[in-house]
Symmetry: D2
Subunit: 141 residues, 4 copies
């Protein structure tokens, strides 16, 4: 998968009594993935919000392939898979860094909304950010 | 939706700086939903594990319709939507108790595995639990 | 300990690979304890915030006596231990409901601040809430 | 403060509706602090557990000085403050990396226990680890 890569270390807090990472925590990893993806492309999510563009979550999906365990280094791979004027979709892969094993695959869909949580067209609202994202979409697919 | 209902109160910890419940927390609510569903049907998940049957998560999905907010009472509705010898699927609806507004819809898929995490056929491994679940499947659909 | 009692069920998410509840989760239970304490006394924390009074946390402390485990019912006991014009302190006890075993003891200190996060004197800002809390302090000690 | 430093980035998930990091999350940061401290000194906590030495938490304490916010880079400073045959204490400072502002100060106390959760004397159980830690205690105070 093209896109960006970001590595994190699994903490004790993220494990559960099965000895593996609790399934809900992957959604936090996806958040880290898309945040660092955007930062790498020169437009941090914080800057999005400062410019009045919020990306709440409309949909999330995750397929768990192999458990991540305590102290594992895992790589979060992120790319933009779809872009419309009103929403964006990110794809993720979680890989165990040590041996390249696939841990999980997922995706999230986000509408573009303003500070008042009302839907906006990103293309109209902020042409600069729109252009940046559109370029990345082309590059990463 | 048929199935069981369980009510929880949204805590401060579950909110994020958007003022709404963080999207990853819904997966914890789904866990509560299926746990209380099983308990209500007379077979707590803890008992499953004590009998050597574990239900890790293979897949999760969530559609976020309307934000849940701090101190909201929300109802988690849960039912079994699919049952095979080797896996089970739960469906969930999150409803704001006060006004019945739909907050989220989701599902999770779980393989049946033994204490060694190897796949098992529930029907072969534990006929009693299999029969209980099969009955519920019929009733709730 | 006098004060109020509130019962919760330990979820899988709260456990870690040691098979017990992760130590950081007790601070969430303390939040639930003080929220339900205030609600029981007729002044929900949400109402505090609606009236422009916030209670961020200045200090937290917890002594872990015995581990809480998955699916345990635990009782959170809460009382106000100190009250000054500018801050309030809550004490907590976590008890396993089934056998009364002491799980943890803790406390949190909260300054009274306004919506702008600046310190306020609760006695000056809202005499009604002040009187309610003062009464509870007397009763619970 | 001497000891080791480890930097993390604040995620959206860690914030609450006050717009700041939820107070319970600092205990996770302390976990990261002591884990990375131990790793830096050549004895990862995972290795401790593999050698039959567990460090559950007996006590935690945190003073919150200034709020950490979304996307802040924060530095977790960690050192060993006390060492006895049966327990160890870590001190932590959380600093905003950008301006050096003090966010929080805390400490945790951990008994040494074996895989059966029974108290052990670290000095007797594992002289090598004992010596390593004792050296660090001297260096960091």
């Amino acid at each position: 998968m093209k896109g960006s890569s970001y590595e994190i270390r699994v903490t004790y807090q993220e494990t559960d009594m099965m000895g593996v990472v609790y399934y809900g925590n992957y959604l936090r990893w996806f958040e880290i993935g898309r945040t660092e993806y955007l930062r790498e492309k020169g437009m941090s999510y914080k800057e999005f919000e400062d410019r009045g563009i919020l990306l709440p979550v409309l949909e999330s999906h995750c397929n768990y392939h192999s458990p991540a365990r305590y102290d594992d280094l895992v790589t979060i791979k992120t790319k933009i898979s779809k872009l419309k004027r009103t929403k964006i979709e990110f794809d993720y892969e979680i890989i165990r860094s040590e041996d390249g094993e696939l841990i999980a695959i997922g995706s999230t869909v986000h509408p573009f909304v303003g500070s008042d949580f009302k839907p906006i067209s990103l293309k109209k609202k902020d042409k600069e950010i729109w252009n940046l994202i559109e370029q990345e979409l082309v590059k990463s697919n």
